[in-house]
């Protein structure tokens, strides 16, 4: 493990330049460049807000902002987009970089780190954009938002853990790459991002606790929409799961790394 960190440290220059290159490559030939990374989720939010606000807005208790549903959507989307982006990029990471891995010697661990770095960069930009939109809709930044820092770490750990496991498996069993986007889609709809949790029928309510993304998304709602301290206990459970998955992912990555090049 120490060795892993050491090699990562000595390749920090490569990691940073990769993230920067990826970012600047986006600006290279399109006028809006990296803005598309923000426009995309915002457009999605706008669509949901337009289509569903009349149906669902009334179900949001406890806030008296007429744009409450839009705020709710954006808060959830912020968390989910980071989660989904890391997973889907980790999923095809080793296959996409197969050629490089076959031809060059470098610490493989830099690859997922680059993905995480570049996803976090997008996330921060999206967050800043959301702050602007929130301010326009009458929700000003507040101190509770500091909670987002540990939450971001938790959701990143969870996503990287899942992403690494799936990414490694995908090298050997390519069906994983096909089935995961579908599962992510299903998972998205089983997580209260678009709808409030209270519209779930009582008898199904207990199942939602099995979803490790539920506490995270709820915490984002608590912080960004309701401006209150999130439910710590729930988040701790998710964090423990996240750390467990992350360790499992790293273990599998270490075991699979020598064989990956053989089958790529």
């Amino acid at each position: 493990m120490l060795e892993l960190l050491k090699s990562l440290w000595s390749y920090r220059g490569f990691v940073f330049s990769s993230i920067r290159n990826e970012f600047s490559a986006r600006f290279a030939r399109s006028r809006l460049g990296g803005l598309w990374m923000i426009i995309n989720p915002l457009a999605q939010v706008a669509i949901y807000a337009l289509v569903l606000s009349n149906v669902l807005a009334a179900k949001l208790p406890g806030i008296d902002n007429k744009y409450a549903y839009a705020l709710y959507l954006m808060a959830g989307m912020l968390a989910w987009s980071l989660f989904a982006e890391i997973i889907s990029r980790c999923l095809t990471l080793f296959i996409d970089q197969g050629n490089l891995m076959k031809k060059m010697r470098f610490p493989r661990i830099t690859l997922p780190v680059i993905v995480v770095g570049s996803c976090l960069l997008n996330y921060v930009l999206l967050f800043v954009a959301l702050l602007v939109v929130f301010a326009l809709l009458g929700q000003w930044p507040h101190l509770h938002m500091l909670w987002l820092i540990p939450l971001t770490v938790a959701v990143t750990a969870l996503a990287v853990g899942i992403g690494l496991i799936l990414g490694v498996l995908n090298v050997f069993v390519r069906d994983i790459g096909q089935v995961v986007p579908i599962l992510l889609q299903i998972w998205f709809w089983f997580t209260p991002v678009v709808y409030p949790v209270n519209i779930i029928p009582e008898r199904f309510r207990s199942y939602i606790d099995m979803n490790p993304m539920f506490p995270i998304v709820s915490a984002y709602h608590d912080i960004l929409v309701y401006a209150k301290t999130p439910d710590i206990q729930q988040i701790v459970v998710t964090t423990v799961i996240a750390v467990g998955l992350l360790l499992l992912g790293l273990f599998m990555f270490r075991r699979a790394a020598p064989e990956m090049v053989d089958v790529l």
Partner: protein
């Protein structure tokens, strides 16, 4: 101390009945792969600083696999590779280049991929720019480059900092001939400074000029490790011998190694060199008219016979070779028991030095189609300068001179 030690190296590609079994193995389940395909086995050698080693072998012999394990992109299944120092490979130039970034940005990125930090790169970036010689393009996106320009930048990065071991694919062409010379100069310069070269090539000439040792791989094992000349002779014989016959190697009195191969339908009885008077000679003066006499015997009837010879210099570099196919003197339908004598007359317009002659009996244009017999070092002769003005080089190309002032 050796720079690189390869010890009992082996690589197997494993196939499992199901990929889930492979995954189970990572977690320590005692599962055996359903199939193991060994591409390399029992490879051992060590390399000292400043050596230049040619790795030769036919396609699929395991050259790339070996190099990948040496560079560390592939993990060996058994055995170890121990390296003292940094390895740079110019096998795949331009890996990791992104077409939307400028040459300069790509240099930083690619050097980072090689493990250098920003400081080290800053130190050499001007050198890289100067070496690549692509002018203002260095700060333009790589997509606007010609492929040669991209190669120039890639080569400049790959060799920006002298490695202890440099792996070169000889077939790799780096841009135009000007830059090729420039890049080979740099490789030689590194070698002079103590870098060990590992060169993969099929080209006899470059192996013999650049290397002082060659390793021949065949079917995943080292079958010959020695002087480039011997190894290349053996390799040539091996290519000719794909069919059936054997390759024989025997040590001559002077310690050099003679390789003899062929299917044996025809054999070489004697090879001698004679002067204009017909006396056998060993010393030839520059420009002297000589004849190379080759006596052959037909052992079983063959449809066609072509005799070829190749004069090589002391390093084994081909100087001149031809055969009776090209000379329009091939014979058809030969019967067992016949003997055929050839006499090739030529002026020995050769530089001073020692030369050897390899002779081959085959059909059609080269010994690759059907090789009856191929013998290296059938004859060794020396060229001495008795009558001509002083000159250097392998060939005697006498000029007349006029000068004006």
């Amino acid at each position: 101390m050796s720079l690189l030690t390869v010890n009992n190296l082996g690589k197997a590609y494993r196939v499992y009945a199901s990929e889930f079994q492979r995954i189970g193995r990572w977690f320590g389940l005692p599962i055996k792969p359903s199939e193991e395909h060994w591409v390399l086995k029992h490879i051992s050698f060590s390399i000292n600083p400043g050596e230049a080693i040619g790795i030769v072998g036919q396609n699929g012999a395991g050259k790339s696999t070996l190099l990948k394990m040496i560079t560390g992109t592939l993990q060996p299944t058994e055995g170890t590779v121990h390296v003292n120092g940094r390895i740079a490979a110019i096998l795949e130039l331009g890996m990791g280049f992104s077409s939307d970034l400028t040459g300069r940005q790509n240099v930083f990125h690619a050097a980072g991929l090689m493990g250098f930090n920003a400081e080290q790169i800053n130190e050499v970036i001007d050198n890289i720019e100067a070496f690549a010689e692509i002018g203002e393009y260095f700060d333009e996106p790589v997509r606007t480059y010609s492929s040669g320009m991209q190669m120039r930048v890639a080569f400049a990065v790959a060799t920006a900092i002298r490695p202890e071991i440099l792996i070169v694919d000889e077939a790799l062409s780096v841009g135009d001939s000007y830059f090729q010379h420039k890049s080979f100069d740099r490789i030689r310069e590194f070698q002079a400074q103590g870098t060990t070269l590992l060169i993969v090539s099929h080209d006899r000439g470059s192996i013999q000029t650049l290397c002082n040792r060659a390793i021949l791989l065949e079917k995943g094992t080292v079958i010959k490790d020695g002087k480039p000349e011997e190894v290349m002779d053996f390799y040539n014989a091996l290519i000719a011998e794909k069919e059936n016959a054997t390759v024989q190697v025997r040590e001559l009195q002077d310690g050099s190694i003679q390789t003899r191969s062929g299917s044996g339908e025809a054999s070489i009885e004697s090879v001698t060199l004679h002067n204009a008077a017909g006396d056998p000679i060993e010393y030839v003066s520059v420009g002297e008219n000589v004849s190379l006499r080759i006596a052959t015997r037909i052992n079983s009837s063959i449809p066609e016979l072509v005799v070829g010879y190749l004069i090589k210099d002391r390093l084994g570099q081909p100087v001149f070779g031809t055969n009776t196919h090209y000379l329009d003197c091939k014979l058809d339908s030969l019967e067992a028991g016949e003997t055929v004598n050839y006499s090739f007359r030529f002026a020995a317009n050769l530089g001073v030095g020692s030369y050897s002659v390899a002779v081959a009996l085959h059909t059609e244009a080269s010994h690759l189609s059907r090789n009856y017999e191929w013998v290296d070092l059938t004859l060794v002769f020396n060229v001495v300068n008795i009558s001509q003005s002083e000159f250097v080089g392998l060939a005697w190309v006498p000029p007349t001179v006029e000068c004006s002032r």
